[in-house]
């Protein structure tokens, strides 16, 4: 068997291959040779073969058959063998193969080897790919080496310890004693890795963090020495003494100083010193400055220092080096939340960065610009952002468009401006606008009543030439359908009215319907719009009828359904047509539920906003619950108000938290949204067991005194109690609200929250008006489940309108009689 070729030969041969196929052939031949050589158990050439195998592995060819050979090499006595064997183990093996456990013994022996380089190899391998079992076995050895005086081994042991801690966090305490002297080292390599080890420990465990805070003075001293000491050739990088160590120490200081006043104070001086003394002409200086800035922003530094930091970042922004600018933008993004005003000062520079050639910088600048938009600078910023939207790469357009919409919504100075901005976005980046933007826009347009004529005119003009951008066409179609009468009336206050005939409008809508570029959804919009125009247009009703009937046999099921139903409207239900296709009312902005389903309605059902039934008091359901949550945040009480354990966890938060829970146990139909009614079956059985089969008041434990839970401002709420005999953990409370003032209280809403150990269910109230002069009451039933028989406590929140103003009150009810919960 001829001796296997050397690595160099192999590489040379492979490089002569001219095609991929040739290369593959050579490699396969060599692999076969290597495999037979392995089979022969040849000790002398094994290292050479494994080296070749690793080369082929790097090129992408399979090399797993060499794994065992690596182990054999590790077990050998020669340093050469060990070296290549460990390298092979690190490249080819991982903890998923069982083979790697065989290494444990070898590594253990090598950790105690007489040659430091062998020990180094073992530490390196363990630190790279040691599994948790290996780490557990060998942690003791590593800890021993952490205390050795040999700096070469000490630094490796420190990093190996980091890996062990990552794999087996419980072993962290084991390394604690060894860390005592780590910072006393002179050798920078050991210092560096020790700081890494300390950083890792502090990040993982708050106890360690507290323990290591006492090291802050020492760290500050080391940093000071680094800065002050003169030129030291071995650690010098472009004139700065060991910048890597400086950066590491700054990072550790950041972690130690976070949220801690004393440490932060101890660091203030040195940070100021570093910030002012570091030379910024080279990248190393900037790296240190950058780290300093991050540290200053993160700890509890004094305001002067913070201003200094932001100014440094501002200077970075003007630097020629792209990397520095990128890094500055990233950190400004992080600080804009906390130090908004300071960052605002650099707004113009940031906006200039939008025009940079570099994609990464542009993205950062865009995000930062959106964060900086406020009421004062909205007009200027929007101009820049719209210009950016025009010229930026496609990957940005969607994000930019969404950002612009959000900013416009929050800070629009006038409705006209808002609509203009939206139009501009739709026309420039129409196809990149996200789908959920369309309903939001439609709602916005509906709400700006005086702009309807202007809006529909502009939209009409926009799609006249080009109807390929789907979101634009959808919005336009909807608007034309709604406000078509305004369009043909030729009246418009805001701009020059255009003369459009009914036929022209129908032309454009029909072309959208026919066009290949229109998505199915867009066609739906279009058809509905045409239908709506049948009540708004006078002369073209027959044409509309024809169009609608054609689509009654469309292949698209959605269109077909719509067309058929609209046809029915024309024929059988013609008397209802005008009422159904009336102008939409101004919609409530239901922010919690995201976009309400406005347009996917059939012609007959009511406009969707009524379906979601915003609570009568006006504010959104989730904000009500949030208020309660805020109240109860401190204590252990959580508002457990599962009126329905919804089987649809993804449903909009508003419905889940709707405290006026529409579930009626007796199964009466409610007006609640569909998902709420479905899980009646899946209600907690214990609540049902006691109560569903029997009428509510049969098993009453009489004699529980009722209490007045609330009595203020003329509103009195009484609680009466019933206990169920069949289920002793359930208490049924009937509340009665009465009003002794001379004016009615309207839109009355009662909400309740109980501690975590209870469960609460609110049934529908009898009404929402509490009549004056105690002439009537509102009754509502609350069921409380108290399995642990704990003392009943409740917090209640009342909202109502009285004497023309909205009132709101919170109260705690603690005077529950013991019979109600024992």
């Amino acid at each position: 068997m001829p001796a296997p070729i050397r690595l160099r030969e192999l590489i040379r041969t492979i490089r002569t291959a001219r095609t991929q196929a040739e290369e593959r052939e050579m490699i396969q031949k060599e692999c076969a040779a290597i495999r037979s050589s392995f089979r022969e158990e040849d000790n002398t050439y094994r290292c050479r073969n494994v080296a070749k195998l690793l080369y082929m592995h790097m090129l992408g060819y399979p090399a797993h058959f060499g794994q065992l050979e690596c182990l054999k090499l590790i077990a050998s006595q020669k340093f050469t063998d060990k070296r290549i064997g460990y390298l092979g183990a690190m490249l080819l093996l991982d903890e998923r193969q069982d083979v790697h456990l065989l290494m444990t013994n070898c590594i253990k022996n090598d950790l105690n080897h007489s040659t430091q380089y062998v020990q180094g190899l073992a530490l390196c391998t363990l630190g790279c790919m040691g599994s948790s079992e290996m780490c557990r076995d060998l942690a003791g050895e590593v800890e021993k080496l952490l205390k050795t005086s040999n700096s070469y081994l000490r630094k490796k042991a420190a990093l190996c310890a980091v890996h062990v801690i990552r794999k087996v966090p419980e072993l962290m305490e084991m390394f604690l004693p060894a860390t005592k002297n780590l910072l006393n080292e002179k050798n920078h390599g050991v210092l560096h890795t020790s700081v890494v080890l300390l950083t890792e420990m502090c990040e993982r465990s708050p106890d360690m963090l507290a323990h290591f805070r006492k090291l802050v003075p020492q760290l500050v001293r080391i940093l000071k020495n680094l800065i002050m000491s003169g030129y030291s050739p071995e650690h010098d990088v472009s004139g700065i003494s060991d910048p890597f160590l400086q950066v590491r120490i700054l990072r550790l200081l950041r972690i130690l100083g976070r949220n801690d006043d004393d440490s932060s104070e101890a660091m203030n001086d040195i940070l100021a010193q570093v910030a002012t003394n570091t030379e910024t002409s080279k990248n190393v200086g900037n790296a240190i400055l950058y780290e300093t800035v991050l540290t200053i922003m993160d700890i509890k530094s004094e305001s002067g220092l913070r201003v200094l930091a932001i100014n440094i970042l501002g200077r970075f922004l003007l630097n020629n080096d792209k990397n520095i600018r990128y890094v500055a933008l990233t950190s400004l993004l992080k600080t804009v939340q906390t130090d908004h005003n300071a960052v605002q000062r650099h707004r113009s520079t940031i906006v200039d960065c939008l025009k940079d050639l570099d994609v990464s910088i542009k993205r950062r600048a865009m995000e930062l610009s959106f964060a900086l938009v406020n009421g004062n600078n909205i007009r200027g910023m929007m101009k820049e952002l719209l210009y950016f939207l025009d010229s930026c790469e496609p990957e940005f357009k969607a994000d930019c468009a969404s950002g612009i919409f959000l900013a416009a919504e929050k800070y629009a100075p006038s409705k006209r401006w808002h609509i203009d901005t939206i139009m501009r976005v739709l026309t420039t980046a129409g196809s990149y606008v996200r789908d959920d933007a369309v309903p939001n826009l439609i709602q916005l347009i509906t709400n700006s009543v005086e702009m309807h004529a202007y809006t529909v005119q502009r939209l009409y003009k926009a799609i006249l030439g080009d109807y390929s951008q789907q979101p634009l066409v959808q919005v336009a179609a909807w608007c034309i359908g709604e406000y078509g009468d305004l369009l043909i009336s030729g009246q418009c206050e805001e701009e020059e009215p255009i003369q459009v005939t009914e036929d022209e409008v129908l032309d454009i809508l029909e072309s959208v319907l026919i066009s290949n570029m229109s998505a199915s959804v867009t066609r739906g919009y279009s058809l509905t719009a045409i239908m709506k125009l049948s009540t708004r247009f006078t002369c073209t009703v027959n044409r509309i009828k024809k169009v609608v009937s054609i689509y009654g046999s469309s292949i698209d099921v959605e269109l077909q359904q719509r067309a058929v139903e609209y046809n029915a409207l024309f024929k059988k239900y013609d008397h209802m047509r005008s009422a159904l296709l009336e102008r939409m009312p101004v919609m409530e902005k239901v922010t919690t539920n995201g976009p309400t389903e406005i347009v996917q309605t059939n012609g007959e059902t009511e406009p969707a906003p009524l379906e979601t039934k915003p609570p009568p008091s006006g504010p959104q359901p989730s904000s009500q619950a949030n208020d309660l949550l805020d109240l109860l945040g401190g204590n252990d009480i959580t508002p457990v108000i599962p009126t329905v354990p919804t089987s649809k966890p993804a449903s909009a938060g508003g419905e889940l938290l709707d405290l006026l829970g529409d579930i009626n146990l007796t199964g009466a139909p409610t007006a609640a949204p569909a998902p709420a009614s479905a899980p009646q079956i899946s209600q907690p059985p214990f609540l049902l067991d006691g109560l569903s089969s029997q009428p509510l008041f049969n098993d009453i434990t009489t004699g529980i005194p009722s209490i007045t839970a609330y009595n203020k401002n003329g509103l009195k709420i009484e609680f009466t109690f019933e206990r169920s005999n069949t289920n002793p953990s359930v208490t049924v409370i009937t509340i009665q609200a009465s009003n002794s003032t001379e004016l009615d209280m309207t839109d009355f809403v009662f909400q309740a929250a109980v501690p975590k150990t209870f469960q609460l269910q609110l049934l529908s109230p009898s009404s929402s008006v509490v009549p004056a002069f105690n002439t009537g009451t509102i009754t509502q039933v609350i069921k409380v489940l108290n399995p642990q028989k704990q003392q009943l406590r409740m917090r209640i929140k009342l909202t109502y309108n009285h004497k023309g103003s909205a009132m709101q009150d919170l109260a705690e009810v603690n005077n529950f009689p013991p019979q109600s919960w024992q």
């Binding site: 001796a3 050397r6 690595l7 160099r8 590489i11 490089r15 002398t44 290292c47 050479r48 080296a51 690793l54 790097m58 090129l59 992408g60 340093f79 050469t80 070296r83 290549i84 390298l87 490249l91 991982d94 903890e95 040659t115 380089y117 530490l123 390196c124 630190g127 790279c128 790919m129 490796k156 990093l159 190996c160 980091v162 890996h163 920078h188 390599g189 560096h192 890795t193 890494v196 071995e234 650690h235 990088v237 060991d242 910048p243 890597f244 990072r251 990248n283 190393v284 900037n286 790296a287 950058y290 780290e291 792209k322 990397n323 600018r325 990128y326 890094v327 050639l357 570099d358 990464s360």
Partner: protein, 193 residues
């Protein structure tokens, strides 16, 4: 933490591939290819930071690269590393290679892949920076190389011995040498040739 270190040339051929987190082989190659394409698109006066491709990890990871002559040095790091610091680290690594190989060029990396790995091992261990002092690293590498050489090196001493014997011109070998009382039988060396 550094997740991967890749070195490849202007055509995408890998010269050094080191992952500090486990990926199956096909994914590794895919990552190399994807990284190459991402980096190739970059102009030379653009910043050296790239938000990484989809394969190599979530949004926390960045690619930091530097272009030296025909080679790209790419470090894939997460947010715990300072970006500017890594740029300096790449510089230190390349300068160390320069010191070890005397004016390093791509060919050196090609033919001495194992040595490059050993040098890298002294700089980065387990995804974390171990040593940044160039002289220190070079000294340690040279000590280990000496140790290896004393054992005969990777090529293994027998090879040299064999070739040495091959080159001995032995036109005729006496089969036995008789010197006085001594009778030495000369073994047949032809098997070794």
């Amino acid at each position: 933490m550094i997740q991967a270190i890749l070195v490849f040339n202007n055509h995408g051929k890998p010269r050094l591939v080191r992952f500090y987190q486990r990926f199956p082989e096909e994914i590794q190659q895919q990552i190399v290819r994807e990284t190459f394409h991402l980096v190739l698109k970059r102009d030379d006066n653009i910043c050296n930071f790239l938000e990484g491709g989809s394969l190599i990890g979530g949004s926390d990871y960045k690619l930091i690269y530097r272009h030296y002559a025909t080679l790209y040095f790419v470090f894939c790091v997460d947010s715990s590393e300072s970006e500017l610091g890594i740029l300096d680290l790449i510089q230190v690594f390349v300068e160390t290679l320069d010191k070890c190989f005397e004016n390093v060029c791509e060919l050196d990396l090609i033919f001495h892949m194992d040595k490059v790995h050993y040098i890298l091992q002294e700089v980065v261990m387990g995804g974390m920076v171990l040593e940044t002092n160039m002289n220190e690293i070079v000294a340690q590498i040279e000590a280990q190389n000496r140790l290896e050489k004393s054992e005969g090196g990777l090529s293994a001493a027998p090879a040299r011995a064999v070739s040495a014997v091959k080159n001995i011109n032995l036109p005729e070998m006496p089969r036995s040498i008789n010197i006085g009382d001594l009778n030495i039988k000369v073994p047949n060396l032809s098997q070794l040739v």
